[in-house]
């Protein structure tokens, strides 16, 4: 099994306050890896290290190394790194433009001007995100008029427009109802054939349904990682067991 991301001794801090310490693990290609752990344990911080999003925060520091398919991410130009590792946020955040412009903003930024190419790209990615049939009649409709679940799928489709290898999702369903969450779970499962997916989730049943691999963080440290079967159903560490049985939030 290929490794998409190899993380070595990763630490992060905000204003000198440590948030992540000495995390080393591997994220396999074409799998869904779920990152779980109690609130404030550093899940979002971990995710933000992977695409170097942390450095947009002036007070934040990170150390250690992250390799993307064997290449040190610190040596990859930031723009390229962000294209290779896409990110979807907790709150659905489409740009307040039309669906079409949401989908074409980044491709146009990277130089695709040809209208036919753009149209094809929009259709392809919206189909991948399972949104195409719902919006194809009016791609010029404002993205803000979509439902929350549709907006989140649009954000996933938008992240796919720059052809990433890895997709990072930070609690993508926590602002959505059960039905919309189910649609997104199904979507992620179908996307793993083409993409490597890392998802932070608070929802243990959701992690059990979709994850192949699981990572358990506790107080900024890696407690346990491995196949989802093992980590989520037969954890070896006490913290994991207590977390899964609902001892802490």
């Amino acid at each position: 099994m290929d490794t998409a991301l190899r993380i070595e001794n990763l630490s992060a801090s905000y204003d000198g306050k440590s948030a992540l310490e000495g995390v080393s693990l591997e994220i396999p290609k074409n799998r869904i890896t779920a990152v779980i752990g109690p609130s404030g344990c550093g899940k979002s911080t971990f995710l933000r290290c992977l695409n170097r999003f942390l450095q947009e925060d002036p007070g934040a520091q990170m150390s250690g190394s992250v390799e993307l398919f064997g290449e040190d991410t610190a040596k990859i130009p930031l723009e390229l790194l962000r294209r290779k590792i896409g990110m979807v946020f907790q709150i659905p955040s489409p740009f307040p433009f039309s669906i079409y412009r949401n989908m074409t903003y980044a491709p146009r930024y990277y130089g695709i001007r040809d209208r036919k190419k753009l149209d094809a790209l929009v259709e392809e990615k919206l189909k991948l995100a399972g949104l195409y049939d719902e919006v194809k009649d009016d791609l010029n409709r404002s993205a803000m008029k979509l439902s929350g679940g549709q907006q989140q799928r649009l954000c996933i489709a938008r992240a796919l427009t720059v052809d990433p290898d890895v997709l990072l999702l930070d609690e993508p369903c926590s602002a959505l109802d059960v039905r919309s969450s189910a649609v997104i779970e199904e979507l992620l499962t179908s996307l793993k054939q083409r993409y490597t997916i890392v998802i932070v989730t608070h929802n243990i049943p959701q992690a059990r349904r979709i994850a192949d691999e699981a990572v358990f963080l506790f107080n900024g440290r890696l407690t346990e990682w491995g196949s989802a079967e093992q980590v989520l159903r037969e954890p070896t560490q006490t913290e994991t067991r207590e977390f899964l049985s609902g001892v802490f939030g």
């Binding site: 695409n51 999003f53 947009e56 002036p58 930031l78 723009e79 390229l80 790194l81 962000r82 294209r83 896409g86 990110m87 946020f89 955040s93 740009f95 307040p96 433009f97 039309s98 412009r101 903003y105 980044a106 930024y109 990277y110 010029n140 409709r141 404002s142 993205a143 803000m144 008029k145 954000c155 938008r158 992240a159 427009t161 720059v162």
Partner: protein
């Protein structure tokens, strides 16, 4: 109990609203009533399109043409708005997308302070600072439309910056992270996403600012030169507000002059109304294209 309180509250709100509308209607009615008698003596065409303003007969007869004043009002407001928007949008983009929270907390009180300075002070500072500059630049008296536009822009800035940086801050919180996660640079995202995403709200504050610009009297009067001329950037001009402020005190009550000044005020209201209508049409077009 709660129901009665609720009904009472609704009634209170309702009557206050009616009161507000009534007082506005009264002002319009009053100005119109005082303006109308003018048109028994002067034709609307001569009033709106005439360029000779001679409210007292010195032997050549009286005339009441406010065309140059309308143009003066438009010219100075437009100059002021363009300058204020250029600088204001740049400043708001910086404040919302580039400045750190510390810089913001430092600058906002200063901006609010600027908004509270009375307009005479702005006019006075404009007179002291701009007049010598324009004299050196070759404008004879140093008083001109551009100078007034600059003073006006400085006055509009605090309001425009605080209103538009507030909407931009919201748009930035929402749009900047996903844009940067796509590898788009901060400045491209600021100009290409945050700015257009805030356009509708910026237009709304611009609409309010236009009202302030066109009605602003004191500061404009002090630096625009106040001559009945067709406005040129480096020439003198006079705004309707200045005309009214300068002459209302000396106009004999119920004279043609008096009615003409009211009619000029009425013209200013209509002008504002038309401009705001245009702005809201623009806004609703933007809304259909999808804004926040």
């Amino acid at each position: 109990m709660a129901k009665t309180a609720n009904r009472f509250f609704m009634l209170l709100i309702g009557s206050l609203t009616v009161l507000a509308i009534l007082s506005l209607a009264f002002v319009i009615w009053f100005v119109a009533k005082e303006a109308l008698p003018l048109f028994r003596e002067v034709s609307p065409a001569a009033f709106f399109l005439g360029t000779r303003w001679m409210p007292v007969d010195f032997g050549n007869g009286m005339s009441f043409g406010i065309f140059n004043f309308i143009m003066g009002t438009l010219a100075v407001s437009l100059t002021g708005m363009i300058l204020a928007l250029l600088v204001g949008l740049g400043a708001s983009l910086y404040l919302s997308c580039a400045a750190t929270q510390r810089v913001r907390t430092l600058l906002y009180p200063v901006i609010d302070l600027l908004a509270g300075i009375p307009s005479v002070v702005y006019g006075f500072v404009g007179l002291m600072v701009l007049k010598p500059v324009f004299i050196r630049a070759g404008v004879k008296t140093g008083l001109c439309v551009l100078a007034a536009g600059i003073v006006l822009a400085v006055m509009l800035l605090p309001y425009l910056i605080s209103a538009s940086s507030e909407t931009m801050l919201k748009a930035r919180a929402r749009c900047l992270p996903p844009a940067m996660a796509l590898g788009i640079s901060r400045w491209d995202a600021a100009a290409g996403i945050v700015l257009p995403a805030s356009a509708r709200n910026i237009l709304m504050s611009a609409g309010l600012a236009v009202g302030r610009a066109m009605g602003e009297t004191m500061a404009v009067m002090m630096v625009m030169g106040n001559a009945n001329l067709f406005p040129k950037l480096l020439g003198k001009g006079e705004s309707i507000a200045a005309l009214i402020a300068l002459e209302m005190g000396t106009a004999v009550a119920d004279s043609t002059h008096y009615h003409a000044l009211y009619a000029a005020g009425f013209a200013l209201m209509i002008l504002l109304f038309v401009i705001n209508l245009g702005i809201s049409a623009l806004r609703s077009r933007l809304l259909r294209r999808g804004g926040i």
